[in-house]
């Protein structure tokens, strides 16, 4: 019996272990010196990107041209890569892909190196608008890789009336009840509510967040569920008819079923940016800069748009895009000025506890 009890205690301990995240907190990233002395072909690069977010052949082409040995590792989410960087004190990666609103954390904690623009002449290929992004004006620390927005992705063959407003989640027509999903993580979880109520997506006002929480709890009754990962395949399968979706992910659905459409609701949406940053602790900064410059070449930016179906902030690349591709995925044709009308996402800082409480409240309701 004693044995049983000990086993049970161990089982309880496992539970606590399962909930435990990575190691200790952040240490300041020391800039790794001496990189300039090493010739480029003797440098190596460790890059972390999301899965299926690097066009096939891009890394091989870079390796062949420069002689730099590249190791690509994958992260599943922004939280994942930020956690890895914080846990390792900024060491272990030379270059990572991370969303703009998470970048502030990394800059604030000293993990990110300031870029040497002289080493990235292809920055000239970017749209002028891509130099004025709120999380990093002038691209001092980061270079935008892709950008886009969030909207409503739906099956035009099943949904009778084209959705135009975020309020569809709150007041849907009868036939859509139980067939819609919303994104389940912040800040997108509150986006339909905040937009419908006319609040900022970066609000830190408790009253506004509370009102948005109530709105979302009311909307929850109409939903099939909250879904961040399978919503486009659920659309293709017909399990969901109308979902809140990121533009690029909606394109994945369109690729499988041309009846799927994407619309930015009339109340407006967000502007997200995925960026490339060089870590302060990297000892291969020249190679990392060379890689960024390589990605910014028109043909490589074009490959990103064609293979990953995301908009790139690279004017030279977008101008080369096959018009047939834009016809098939209309949201690839959104202009930078249309995108910049949307609200850029920022890190909520201290107010994040209001946001997470809201998420818990919605899910627990």
């Amino acid at each position: 019996m004693v044995r049983v009890r000990r086993l049970a205690l161990l089982a309880a301990a496992t539970l606590a272990l399962a909930a435990c995240g990575g190691g200790g907190g952040a240490g300041g990233g020391e800039p790794g010196g001496g990189g300039a002395a090493v010739p480029l072909e003797d440098q190596t690069l460790t890059i972390s990107n999301w899965d299926a977010y690097t066009p096939e052949g891009l890394i091989e082409a870079f390796e062949q041209e420069t002689g730099v040995d590249v190791t690509l590792t994958l992260h599943t989410t922004n939280e994942d890569i930020v956690g890895k960087i914080q846990a390792a004190g900024g060491k272990g990666f030379d270059l990572v892909f991370v969303s703009g609103n998470y970048l502030q954390t990394l800059i604030d904690q000293g993990f990110v190196a300031e870029l040497d623009h002289d080493l990235i002449p292809n920055l000239a290929n970017l749209y002028p608008e891509a130099n004025e992004l709120g999380y990093d004006p002038g691209n001092r620390y980061s270079v935008p890789y892709t950008w886009g927005t969030t909207g409503i992705c739906y099956r035009s063959d099943l949904v009778e009336e084209e959705p135009t407003s975020w309020t569809v989640f709150h007041d849907p027509p009868e036939e859509l009840k139980g067939k819609m999903t919303m994104l389940g993580t912040n800040p997108w979880l509150l986006e339909p509510a905040l937009r419908s109520l006319g609040s900022s997506l970066n609000t830190t006002d408790p009253a506004e967040i509370e009102a948005a929480t109530e709105w979302t709890i009311e909307a929850k009754a109409n939903l099939k569920g909250f879904d961040d990962t399978t919503f486009y395949s659920e659309l293709v399968a017909g399990n969901a008819w109308l979902v809140q979706a990121w533009d690029g992910w909606c394109n994945y659905g369109i690729a499988e079923d041309p009846n799927i459409r994407f619309v930015v609701p009339e109340e407006g949406s967000d502007l997200w940016t995925d960026t490339m940053v060089v870590l302060a602790a990297s000892e291969n900064k020249e190679a990392a800069h060379a890689f960024i410059d390589f990605v910014l070449r028109p043909e490589n930016g074009k490959a990103v748009a064609e293979l990953v179906y995301y908009k790139v902030p690279n004017r030279a690349a977008m101008e080369q895009l096959d018009p047939a591709l834009i016809e098939r995925f209309p949201n690839l044709g959104m202009s930078p000025s249309e995108l910049l009308e949307q609200e850029a996402l920022r890190d909520p800082g201290e107010a994040i506890s209001l946001w997470t409480d809201a998420a818990a409240q919605i899910k627990a309701a």
């Binding site: 019996m1 049983v4 606590a16 989410t77 139980g178 939903l223 569920g225 909250f226 997470t356 998420a359």
Partner: protein
């Protein structure tokens, strides 16, 4: 001096001198320290620290995390998780006891193959098995197609995204952990006590309720703990089968570490769950001790 020598001799004779003690205990103790005591210690310490503006941990002592964990919102989530875990455990016991009883009373050559069938699902990753439930329960899934095909419902019904789906998924995931300790308790008991009860005039039901069940109570308790504890902390099943519409405390903790980057609060929630679990285990141990004492007195 004499005493000391005597003690040393005894130690050698039974293999409990300090070198052999260290040899036997060392690896386990090392693993326990590194893999249990140290991480739990880290969590405990973190739960009293503050979150930095952009995540991470700031070394500033605070009780705020625990005050926040006591907010009605979080207490409600914990309470509903306990209810879901208790319901899952109860159903697992109702399903698992007859199954274990059946297997334990088969001829010896059948027991192993039957037990292998019980643990067979463990050969596949839980995540994949849970996705299989999505395929079954979805709107256009197999269950709904069968229901509509048989004319039992006119339209597909919502099976996913309900509490029933969560309990079903958890039950499926942890049922073997109920059956195994029950099987071992029932098998160890053997047929003799049952036969004795029957010879003394007890009906089959009476023999079960007054002999078999009380004597296998430790197995029942073990099975319940093995199912309840991991169920309470599970976050994959509610996430996938609950359609994100319902959360358990495991989801809450997971989201603190990954989405909110609020490690101190996540740590405080973890410690709270650990405390609840320990309290339940103490209660369970008390019940067992009392049971044993009663049995001893009766004997």
């Amino acid at each position: 001096m004499r005493l000391g020598r005597k003690g040393a001799r005894r130690g050698r004779a039974t293999g409990t001198g300090w070198p052999s003690r260290a040899l036997f205990l060392g690896p386990g103790l090392l693993a326990w320290t590194l893999l249990f005591a140290a991480p739990v210690g880290l969590i405990l310490v973190s739960s009293f620290l503050s979150r930095g503006t952009f995540g991470g941990i700031e070394y500033r002592f605070t009780l705020d995390n625990f005050a926040r964990a006591l907010d009605p919102l979080y207490v409600r989530v914990l309470w509903s998780s306990i209810r879901i875990a208790a319901l899952t455990t109860g159903v697992a016991l109702l399903v698992g006891y007859p199954a274990a009883y059946f297997i334990a009373t088969r001829p010896a050559r059948w027991r192993l193959p039957l037990l292998v069938l019980v643990v067979l699902p463990f050969w596949t990753n839980l995540l994949i098995r849970t996705y299989a439930w999505i395929v079954l329960l979805n709107r256009e899934g197999l269950v709904n197609r069968a229901l509509v095909g048989l004319g039992l419902t006119e339209r597909p019904i919502a099976l996913l995204g309900t509490r029933v789906a969560i309990v079903l998924g958890l039950l499926y995931a942890y049922l073997p952990l109920m059956i195994l300790p029950l099987f071992s308790a029932i098998e160890r008991l053997g047929v003799a006590p049952r036969q004795a009860a029957a010879d003394l005039g007890a009906s089959p039901a009476g023999a079960f309720l007054r002999v078999t069940l009380p004597l296998t109570l430790p197995g029942v308790m073990a099975g319940c703990v093995f199912v309840f504890v991991p169920t309470l902390g599970n976050f994959i099943v509610p996430d996938l089968l609950g359609g994100g519409k319902a959360i358990m405390v495991g989801n809450l903790i997971q989201s603190q570490f990954f989405q909110a980057r609020d490690w101190p609060f996540g740590a405080a929630l973890s410690i709270s769950v650990l405390a609840v679990t320990v309290v339940l285990l103490v209660v369970q141990a008390r019940v067992l001790t009392r049971e044993r004492r009663l049995a001893a007195r009766a004997a």
